[in-house]
Symmetry: D2
Subunit: 153 residues, 4 copies
Amino acid sequence: MHQPDFKPKDAAYAARVRDSFALQGAMATLGASLGDIAPGRVVIELPWAAGLTQQHGFLHAGMVATALDSACGYAGFTLMPEGAGVLTIEFKINLLAPAKGQSFRMVGQVIKPGRTITVTEGRAYAIDDGREKLIATLGATLMTITGRDDVKN
Amino acid sequence: MHQPDFKPKDAAYAARVRDSFALQGAMATLGASLGDIAPGRVVIELPWAAGLTQQHGFLHAGMVATALDSACGYAGFTLMPEGAGVLTIEFKINLLAPAKGQSFRMVGQVIKPGRTITVTEGRAYAIDDGREKLIATLGATLMTITGRDDVKN
Amino acid sequence: MHQPDFKPKDAAYAARVRDSFALQGAMATLGASLGDIAPGRVVIELPWAAGLTQQHGFLHAGMVATALDSACGYAGFTLMPEGAGVLTIEFKINLLAPAKGQSFRMVGQVIKPGRTITVTEGRAYAIDDGREKLIATLGATLMTITGRDDVKN
Amino acid sequence: MHQPDFKPKDAAYAARVRDSFALQGAMATLGASLGDIAPGRVVIELPWAAGLTQQHGFLHAGMVATALDSACGYAGFTLMPEGAGVLTIEFKINLLAPAKGQSFRMVGQVIKPGRTITVTEGRAYAIDDGREKLIATLGATLMTITGRDDVKN
């Protein structure tokens, strides 16, 4: 993946990500926690749990997508100005292999930031018996929302 | 959406969908239940819950995707032969409006069934104060898996 | 496909579509012509040609996408205000069957118009020995551009 | 982008790519030529031409997609066995910037090869006054077709 050197507009970007992440009920349900937070790049980690599975006991594709979408959304959010909110317009996920493992690492990366539209990519890795394997790629298009009190982080 | 008249290969298709759905831990976590099950079309319903939200209190895009992916996967599954398993290869979701409402209805529909590859479409509707609104569309590509004991429903 | 009743902001929407279409060198290369133009819905037609093929003699997926993207883009454009320009942010295409036929009909339809973002869907049909067959579906996200002289139609 | 070390199944992979490319009428229409061909990675180059443009004089998104889809398809094809054919099941393209330039370079890369399904990614670069700029990313899912005389390269 592309990893250009991005300059955040708001020095407090990491704190803003942590505050917003803490508001996502879905992240608590996933048992997810924030890993590295860098300008244009955010990592989210979670353990396997029975409540996240599809019928074969693997992580449900939608749950992989939920964590990847948050990783990508927050990757974009690190580059947005103070007071802005982030919304996902669309994303696409490719499931490369069954999400089989004891824990999972989701990496969200900005490909192209923009005033209105930001394009991101995510990679999901399963850690299975100590081996890390790429299991999914996701591309998400984000929109920066400004001047709306109800969409502000 | 396209609604052609599909003939199921296995008359017990609805029972197979119910059995598989009951194995998805993710559906229990979503509080989701099966609605109509017809050849090539499956409906999933769920109420709003704090554990499914993003930072603004709307349903997380990934949770919408989780329910829509299951609706589409099972729509495809209704047309697959006995003993087959279904896997999602990829899906793309467009979020048309915030997932704001008291309950949600996800409709999965087969567009083109195939021996190996099945293409489906989903629509997510939010029911907010009694009004139903289209909030997301999803397109999913499914693969029929045969002859594998670990991927069999 | 969804076919809501849309009100154009500019009564001259069809003329604007025709003027813009005439500027697309790609449409001339495709031998494409405009069919019906309605608010939120545009049809583009083209004959098979050797210069549009992939290695098996079918229409190249990218050429199908080119015509569908224009159909969707102009469908969105019919609902945009005078002086606005339209840009495709992203699209996804599913190829349901080989693009085999003597002529092709592309239908672009707005699903959700918006001030900044418009979501559209397209259907590609091949006409082969007089029978019409759905060969591809496309979903495109459009952006309305205003106040830029270089992107104005 | 991921660039693992892939082993081709057929030592004559580059010749097979060249032979198939020569059969694509669409590549001649684009004025496209093959650049590097490596296991799992193929480059396609083309100059700007009026016949490839959208209404603002930039390369049409569909034409960018046509070249990227071929680059990705042939990247996957390098890893397929002799006698196999390649079909694109679906692709998604994100347009990051207007396709403005004198020439264009499309890089297709395999992310995950498979017996039936291969997942690829493409990057499109515009060369404008000697500066190269990333203008689009594409993700394509390919299918390996075997045992069919009409889809054999």
